[in-house]
């Protein structure tokens, strides 16, 4: 039986959907059978992020209305990776019980069920996290985002969802070295969570970029692959987002740019 992981954050716009999509792709590249579940029913973005919006025939709403089976609603993205979309406009269409039942059925067929959680801690958030065995919290290095991640972490603990890992997104190595941005270590210590990985701010990343669109040697792709390796039972390796900015020459270059 597979495991379900909810990707959550509290604050919107920190990259939950992008992280969900890219972790799914990176795990599928490792040969794992993965399904991504849109947990943001009503304000869905996963289909757009993954460029599959034109391929959606049925969605999670059709599954609960018994218009189709779960298998019929899955949209293939690449080898080993499927998406369960939620294009219905009505969030209340799917009850918590139905959502949990769907996730449980997916766990029978897939090794990883990754749920893209909506922002906030309203009803749809509670529905999304109840289907999960463990959680990944995403934050950017900004205080508003870190604070919301902390609050969400406390809510997850109230549900006894104790296995929580942290991904710090959009880290800027030069700013951390200049001490104008909190480091991933400082954020991890403040949140008292296990750091799963760091995603650097990438010049080649546009809004909703998935790693299939990036160059294979992109630092963003590299860091997602490291996280996927760890999630999949491999050794933990954190991407060194400051490496390319270290050294005297780079320091001078940074000073000149200021």
């Amino acid at each position: 039986m597979g495991k379900s992981i909810v990707v959550t954050s509290g604050k919107g716009g920190v990259g939950k959907t992008t992280v969900t999509a890219n972790l799914g792709i990176a795990l599928a590249w490792r040969g794992r059978k993965v399904v991504l579940v849109e947990g943001d029913i009503g304000l869905n973005n996963l289909d757009v992020c993954m460029h599959i919006e034109d391929k959606v025939l049925y969605d999670i709403g059709d599954v609960v209305k018994n218009k189709c089976t779960i298998n019929q609603s899955l949209v293939p993205f690449c080898d080993n990776l499927f998406v369960l979309p939620a294009t219905s406009m009505t969030s209340t269409l799917v009850s918590t019980l139905q959502f949990i039942e769907i996730v449980d059925k997916l766990k029978d067929a897939f090794e990883y069920v990754i749920i893209d959680c909506p922002a906030g801690i309203e009803d749809s958030f509670h529905r999304a996290i109840k289907g999960a065995d463990e959680a990944i919290l995403v934050t950017t290095p900004h205080i508003a985002s870190i604070r919301d991640a902390y609050k969400v972490s406390r809510v997850l603990s109230s549900y006894r969802l104790e296995k929580q890992g942290l991904i710090v997104n959009r880290m800027q190595g030069a700013n951390v070295l200049d001490r104008t941005m909190l480091s991933a270590k400082e954020i991890t210590n403040a949140l008292q969570l296990e750091l799963y990985g760091v995603i650097p701010e990438g010049n080649d990343v546009n809004l909703f970029s998935v790693i299939t669109e990036l160059k294979p040697n992109s630092p963003v792709t590299f860091s997602y692959n490291l996280i996927a390796e760890y999630l999949d039972g491999g050794a933990k390796k954190i991407y060194d987002y400051t490496a390319e900015y270290k050294g005297l020459f780079n320091k001078l270059l940074r000073k000149l740019r200021q």
């Binding site: 018994n66 779960i70 009850s95 918590t96 009803d123 870190i146 604070r147 109230s158 001490r179």
Partner: protein, 80 residues
């Protein structure tokens, strides 16, 4: 002027500490959300009609009042 990360870190710790002291309020919010989602499983709730009041009586027992309007009651189905 650039914000130094040391100051930001101190600020973050202060904010988190303040949030921690407000956790009892969040517990009530979680109870409300949990109870709402229970009824949500069986009824099509009228938006914004769900209300839940929790008070503590003088003898220390809890009094919980839940009220809502529902447009429909779901059939219990099994997902295919």
């Amino acid at each position: 002027m650039k914000k130094r990360s040391e100051n930001e870190l101190l600020r973050l710790h202060r904010i988190i500490l303040t949030d921690d002291t407000n956790i009892p309020n969040s517990t009530v919010e979680i109870l409300k959300a949990d109870t709402r989602s229970f009824f949500d499983n069986h009824f099509r709730l009228d938006e914004d009609s769900f209300k839940m009041n929790i008070t503590v009586a003088e003898n220390g027992s809890y009094e919980v009042e839940v009220s809502f309007r529902a447009k429909d009651m779901y059939d219990i189905k099994v997902i295919k």
